[in-house]
């Protein structure tokens, strides 16, 4: 498993879920999170790699890192 320097406050396991599942799960968590919260979104939906950054950019939150795991991606997000 790949390593990251980030220690998430919240982890969302959206593996196996297709578009828009991972993004919807992320939006739900972001909306209830305090600023500065680090969220790890685990997704096996390859479309999330493009769609999540697009949404974060528009919504004003930060994508910290995308880590490729064996059969999914961990996307680290910080809320503003």
């Amino acid at each position: 498993m790949s390593e990251t320097e980030y220690d998430p406050d919240v982890t969302i396991d959206a593996r196996g879920s297709t578009c828009p599942g991972p993004l919807m799960d992320l939006i739900g968590k972001v909306k209830e999170a305090d600023p500065g919260t680090v969220i790890e979104l685990q997704t096996s939906d390859s479309g999330s790699k493009g769609d999540v950054p697009e949404w974060l950019d528009e919504a004003g939150h930060d994508l910290l890192e995308v880590v490729e795991q064996d059969d999914y991606w961990s996307m680290y997000v910080e809320t503003n």
């Binding site: 196996g16 879920s17 297709t18 828009p20 599942g21 939006i27 739900g28 909306k31 949404w55």
Partner: protein, 132 residues
């Protein structure tokens, strides 16, 4: 941009699913969405059809139903999830319901209420209209 007013007049699963996907992400992002389900569109929301999965499907809809290694949330789940976190309202067309001799109890629980064309136009006047 003050939101989208989507007219859903088709019961083809892929079209209904596209409306729920786009509408749900928009609403979850705080963009107001009003969905007016009319004509054949209502057929996909029939409680029995949803329960049995007996949808009108094309190639993509069939692939969705057959997907074994992917969890594809049905449009009803997407709408319900989005309604909990954003401004998304679905309206059932009164005229189509009269023709079908149905009432709201015959449909899955996603509708705000029934609505006529004047009511829809009032809600759509400040929005981008999308016809599906």
């Amino acid at each position: 941009m003050t939101g989208y007013a989507i007219v859903l007049a088709s019961n083809e699963l892929a079209r209904v699913q596209a409306v729920s996907t786009i509408g749900s992400v928009a609403a979850a992002s705080d963009i107001p969405v009003e969905v007016f389900v009319t004509m054949d569109g209502l057929l996909a929301f029939d409680e029995e059809v949803v329960e049995t999965g007996d949808f009108d499907v094309g190639p993509v809809g069939r692939a969705m139903q057959d997907a074994e290694d992917a969890d594809v949330p049905l449009f009803t789940e997407q709408f319900q999830q989005a309604q909990e976190i954003g401004p998304l309202k679905l309206w059932a067309c009164e005229m189509a319901m009269d023709l079908l001799d149905t009432d709201l109890d015959d449909y899955v629980d996603v509708f705000e209420d029934t609505l006529g064309v004047a009511g829809f136009l009032n809600r759509a006047q400040d929005k981008q209209i999308v016809f599906v």
